[in-house]
Subunit: 477 residues, 2 copies
């Protein structure tokens, strides 16, 4: 631990970077735009992987691995796809001491290399659905990067599926969006709004893109996961065909969907406070830290002995560490573990030993409480679940307090010229109106939310009459 | 399942490729030298990762992630390192639509990019030891590639550590070699010889390289894991220094160690037979396949009902699948699952139902046996352990039968001109002798084995007197 982090109210952006660096989640690397994910950050990503991987497998998908390199010509097979990704690509032109005949692109996403294989593997309706997922690194050459949120190289999972019908592909697209929504909410304690992206915000090559969007503490939106219905765009470009039950050749219907290490940044931004990181217990690599307090040899012995029982209550039930470092005082240790986001601290001092209890300090705030040692085995896991729920509620309350139903144009402009937030407003449906707001107010339509009824009336941005549901406008990362 | 695999006796190399392709472990990709790891192959790699990751963490290491790209100049900081790796590198010269100021190398291994960060993080003896591991993809531009065994891109783990003393670094180097030895033997059922590499075979930049070597069924060696003592070579090149307890600046002592997806190829080569893949139960994604046998509706109903009890006995105890595919006959299914390497098959026919037992067929051979349903819950896991042990024993017996203690030159030449094998022989210690054997017989010293006593006498290769222990000579992948 070093100095305190910049307060959020002073500079939210600097606060974020301070937290990431001081909690040792990541560090800048000598390669422009690439970060180093340090053990504290990588352990969070491992937890994300473990839990989400289970959900992806439980919905019938299998993991596979495809090449890092993509022949440049593959990218060009789908017109919108190349337009979207070519400007961001890193290109290998030389290898093994020679110039390559065809340059290789470092994958920015794997549709094209995977689809070339799918065309080879898929013969008949019996081979469908094909449900694959890949955990991998991808590279997109970004001009302005930020640790976790936008880096040149990032880690992610990308699901890629093929189906025999349009309907099945659409079901899959929504199924995986729902997996992401549930994961964000239940595991990361991040409430998200899910819905459809407008055409101008969709994935390059998709028919429809859906997304989950969370609100950060600066009231900006963060896109935390996307799920694309690719229709037959790539199937036609790569000639992925199957023989149907009637012996006729048909193009498959496809989807793709992904979440990335950006989620670690979202966790920092949604839950962190001016003391540093705050981790939801379900993804915390260390859920509980035990800090023994002693100032004499005799106290040390008594606290040590007492700690044996505390450990016995925690072992196998929660992920814990005991901080026996002699060179630091308890107060310093508290601040250190707070900065690192550990959800629950257990303090054991000589007076606690006498009374047969421990002192508990929740990272999400509130008064300290005591708990008898005999109650720890059941009490600590329950308390962690309480913290998990309270973090979600706090984030949800914050989002609700900063979401505004807006009808008139002046208020619309005022919000985005001011503190921002999520604005539920009517939209004319025009791409030009959208582009003008983006240009003028750096604000975009995050999603057309699911389940919102049609609500005809004047567009809050431009006044033209719209007929669809209200959409969510916000500034975004 | 398609046609049978080429018999090993006919063409071992084609047999290997057949098994990999037909068991759908991997496929060729459109990118030269890169393979696609298909779900059946990736699931084996996931099991390897899960078990080995636990062993790596249990020895105190933490996972992290460093950039894919390395500035070309970094590679040049350690003289031997650049000489070894530069010719194999893939180089990114353009990104984001522009030519880069400095080309970026796609990591062939991560020493240099990691060490640049270590220099920043390590200040004092309190920061040591630094014990990191990374699971990642790396790229080495190979001319002749083979699925899993040698591919341009491969997946691996690479451990990188820093220590305060030479002794500690040496201990770490040997500790991780022992982890690899135990893992290969206990999990992959591959017996390995472990020992020191000769200078001409060591890692580019290392002081000493240790390796584990297994014998394939064509009697060639496969290097299955390496552990390097890097001394202070990189520490000096990257100025990784710490302040010791006396306040003096010291260079750290380093190690690195890794195993790769090559291990999947080793499993195929060591255990497979002319029917296809044979998987050791501990890494088999499916350990048991249940094949119901029926030819009438009535039989189907009785077998179905019986299978419920069989499933209840297996669930939560072993990884199993039930093959209810109607379009295939039992005999076809047997061959299909045999080709895919599933260690144990359970057959349930109407007559088995009558008798309240199942028929068991072990993938490692031997007569079929019956087992009462009531015995399955305990019997099947025990049988899987028996199969695991029998595979290891078979591999060990094969290696012993093909390992020769050789004293004279003629016999030495004869073996490597003939069927090959592991040859334990005296060596003069000369690099020129080694190079000459490599040139003449395509044979190398695999390791100077641990624990072998000094055995002075004439070198089997060149006749010059040697003084050290006998070494293991073999042809190798």
């Amino acid at each position: 631990m070093s100095l305190a982090v910049t307060p959020r109210s002073e500079d939210y952006s600097r606060w974020y970077t301070d937290v990431v660096l001081k909690a040792e989640l990541a560090d800048y690397s000598p390669v422009k735009g690439c970060m180093v994910i340090r053990p504290n950050g990588y352990a969070i990503w491992e937890n994300i992987q473990r839990i989400l991987d289970r959900m992806i497998k439980d919905t019938g998908h299998k993991n596979a691995y495809f090449p890092l390199f993509i022949p440049e010509s593959f990218l060009h097979k789908e017109a919108e796809h190349v337009e979207g990704f070519a400007p961001e690509c890193a290109v290998v032109t030389h290898a093994g001491g020679k110039k390559l005949e065809e340059p290789l692109v470092v994958r920015p996403t794997s549709e094209t290399i995977m689809h070339a294989m799918f065309a080879k593997w898929i013969m008949s309706y019996r081979d469908l659905p094909l449900l694959l997922n890949q955990w991998a690194n991808v590279v997109r050459w970004e001009m302005r990067t930020r640790l976790f949120l936008r880096t040149t190289e990032f880690l992610w999972q990308e699901g890629h599926t093929c189906h025999a019908s349009e309907e099945e592909a659409q079901e899959e697209t929504l199924r995986m969006l729902e997996v992401y929504r549930a994961f964000a909410q239940e595991t990361l304690a991040i409430p998200v709004i899910h819905g459809l992206k407008t055409d101008s915000e969709k994935f390059a090559g998709a028919v429809r893109t859906y997304a989950i969007e969370g609100m950060m503490q600066d009231r900006k939106a963060l896109q935390a996961g996307t799920s694309h219905n690719l229709g037959q765009n790539f199937a036609k470009a790569f000639e992925i065909q199957y023989q149907d039950r009637d012996g006729k050749m048909q193009h498959v219907w496809q989807t793709s969907w992904g979440v990335s290490t950006r989620l670690v940044g979202a966790v920092v931004m949604v839950h962190g406070d001016d003391k540093g990181l705050v981790l939801p217990p379900r993804i915390a690599p260390t859920q509980v830290v035990v800090v023994p307090i002693y100032s004499s040899e005799a106290d040390h012995a008594r606290v040590s002995e007492f700690a044996v029982g505390v450990e016995a209550a925690l072992r196998g039930r929660v992920l814990y560490e005991i901080d026996w470092r002699d060179q630091y005082k308890p107060g310093w240790k508290y601040a250190d573990w707070e900065q690192k986001g550990v959800p629950l601290r257990i303090e054991i001092g000589p007076r606690d030993v006498e009374k047969g209890h421990v002192m508990l300090a929740r990272r999400d705030g509130g008064a300290k409480q005591t708990m008898p040692v005999a109650a720890l085995a059941e009490g600590v896991p329950a308390l962690l679940e309480e913290i998990q729920a309270s973090l979600l509620k706090r984030a949800l309350d914050f989002r609700e307090a900063n979401t505004f139903e807006v009808d008139d144009h002046e208020r619309f402009e005022e919000i985005f010229a001011g503190d921002g937030g999520f604005v539920r407003a009517r939209w004319c449906g025009g791409a030009e109106c959208e582009a003008s707001v983006k240009e003028r107010l750096k604000t975009t339509i995050r999603v057309i939310p699911f389940g919102a009824p049609d609500d005809p009336g004047p567009c809050a941005a431009c006044g033209t009459k719209g007929t669809g549901p209200r959409v969510i406008w916000a500034k975004a990362y």
